[in-house]
């Protein structure tokens, strides 16, 4: 059985191609149009700090509801069934609590910093800012290494292009070039407007697709099939057979906090809001988006599973040894399951709109991530290092440098997407790579914002301890000949970073210890 022949069976038509090609060009047009408003780094990075509440919610949703999220979440729904819903629920509840309390984000916005490492310098010292910037960029760029490939797999799957020939790399090159052009041109201003357009298109697409999926498969049939095929593990996340368990659920709860309150692309949206009070409202409303960005793609993944289980040809393709798949049975990459499903149930025309929405989601995530990591490298690594040598970096030079970093990171993402050939669970890969940054950042933000005695030595040690998260990566574990669940490694690393922060601060207090803490307390008091 030739997988390419099966993938070709899609409702995607020429009309849909026209829709998909025109849409990104409109985004490029927006980038060109708003370019004239970018006058300094503040405009480029935080859109002049002029975002209203509703635009703030649209842009935070546009960024966090990317195509990569849709793909890895659909994969989780496909493999984990309804039990995966606990991740969505945790994300929504934790974000809502952050919105009510203002935990982390309120104080950060009040300090009027542009990036998290800038806070590190304000609260600790310059070396912490530089190390924090390097760790953030390292974890973040590693984290987005698979974005381009996974996004392109969606396009290949839904359009019926060959999964093995020229199509995948060609689509990857086309998409990354478009993203690089308009991110470089407009900075945050073009990003937030593109995010808004993406929110509108994608919201409609998400809701309509859910309706069509239920209409095609039948509401009861979806639940009955999952129960029959997956058993208790398909609905109950607390049992081991679900592939989750209690440790994993706690880890997901923490990731819910990371996603909204620590992850820099999300925090960047909070820092771009008009005032700290608006930030709290932004997160309260956005908690719905934070839940939905997982919930709906999980549901699509579940629907794809049900669809495939009722289709002999596709079942044979994805589960050649039957279901549940025996060890080493192989099978077609399950990341293709959701796009193949959508390609078969959505009608021509609508499939183009949905795909355009997904391309928008893809571009929206890329622009935000590229902008975030490039500005961190410029603002928090290069500029402070130059300042240490008595050299200043002009506003114009900073914008230019950020644009250079955007292109360099874009080339890396393309390179990594072309050479990477793994079959890992994408969500778990991302959680581990992200933990390289966020486990240290959590300790620094928590203690830096809420504990007067937190010192720069403690902060430095905590950041370095965060590197322990790479032990959760399977290639590293294979190298060390150990097998630890990534959730356990992640939780242990978090505990270790907080411990390093506390012990380091108590043993090596800052000489000017009361000044920054008192200053932070004054500036950042809720």
């Amino acid at each position: 059985m030739d997988p390419s022949e099966i993938l070709k069976q899609t409702n995607f038509t020429t009309l849909d191609w026209v829709i998909v090609i025109i849409y990104p060009l409109i985004s490029v047009g927006i980038g060109l149009y708003v370019r004239k408003y970018v006058r300094n780094m503040k405009d480029f990075v935080v859109a002049g700090r002029g975002m209203g509440l509703w635009l703030g919610i649209a842009t935070i949703t546009g960024t966090e509801l990317g195509l990569i999220t849709v793909m890895y979440s659909a994969q989780k729904g496909f493999t984990g069934g309804f039990a995966a819903f606990h991740i969505a629920l945790a994300a929504g509840i934790v974000t809502f609590i952050v919105g009510i309390t203002g935990f982390l984000v309120y104080r950060l916005r009040k300090l009027e910093v542009m990036t998290i490492p800038e806070f590190y310098e304000k609260r600790f010292d310059r070396k912490t800012r530089i190390l924090g910037g390097i760790m953030m960029a390292l974890g973040g760029i590693l984290n987005m290494g698979l974005f381009l490939k996974v996004g392109s797999m969606f396009l290949v799957g839904i359009t019926g292009l060959s999964s093995t020939g020229w199509a995948l790399p060609a689509v990857m090159v086309f998409l990354i070039v478009l993203v690089l052009i308009y991110t470089c041109l407009g900075g945050m201003i073009s990003v937030v407007i593109a995010d808004y357009v993406q929110f509108v298109v994608l919201s409609l697409g998400l809701l309509l697709t859910c309706y069509l999926a239920v209409n095609h498969l039948g509401w009861d049939n979806i639940f009955t099939t999952v129960k029959q095929e997956m058993g208790r593990g398909g609905v109950d996340p607390t049992v081991a057979e679900s592939g989750f368990g209690w440790e994993y659920m706690i880890w997901m709860g923490f990731l819910g906090l990371v996603n909204c309150g620590i992850w820099p692309t999300s925090v960047a949206r909070a820092l771009a809001m008009k005032s700290p009070k608006v930030v709290k409202r932004q997160f309260m409303f956005a908690s719905i988006s934070y839940m939905i960005r997982f919930l709906i793609p999980y549901f699509w993944g579940i629907c794809a599973f049900v669809f495939i289980m009722h289709n002999t040809e596709l079942k044979e393709l994805f589960f050649p040894g039957g279901y549940p798949a025996p060890k080493g049975a192989g099978g077609f990459d399950n990341l293709y399951s959701m796009p193949v499903f959508l390609g078969r149930i959505l009608p021509a025309g609508l499939i183009g709109v949905i795909t355009a929405g997904m391309v928008a989601a893809f571009m929206s995530t890329h622009d935000s991530y590229l902008l975030c990591w490039s500005s961190v490298l410029t603002q928090d690594v290069v500029a402070p290092i130059r300042e240490s040598f008595g050299k200043t970096t002009s506003a114009k030079a900073r914008v230019t440098l950020s644009r250079v970093f955007i292109i360099v990171i874009g080339v890396y993402v393309l390179y990594w997407g072309l050479i990477y050939n793994g079959r890992d669970d994408i969500w778990d890969y991302m959680a581990v790579t992200g933990a390289v940054y966020f486990s240290g950042a959590f300790a620094l933000l928590l203690c830096g914002l809420y504990w007067k005695r937190a010192s720069s030595t403690g902060a430095f040690l905590a950041l370095l301890t965060g590197l322990g998260a790479i032990l959760g990566l399977s290639p590293v574990q294979e190298l060390l000949n150990v097998k630890w669940p990534s959730a356990n490694v992640g939780l242990c690393t978090i505990g270790a970073t907080v411990l390093a922060m506390i012990v380091g601060s108590l043993l090596f207090p800052d000489r000017k210890n009361d000044l920054p803490a008192g200053e932070t307390e004054t500036k950042g008091a809720a």
Partner: protein, 52 residues
Amino acid sequence: MSIEAWMTLWKIVLIGGVTLFAVLAVVVTVGGFFDVIKLLANLRKDAGQSDS
């Protein structure tokens, strides 16, 4: 919890979540449009001031 109880919970989460999102989508689409206009107007004003 029984399997049926879990399934009921996830049905409620799914229907409730999608409904809330549908309402949010309408509100944000309208409110966001006016925010975009305000943002561009402010930036235009700032650009005008710095030119003069």
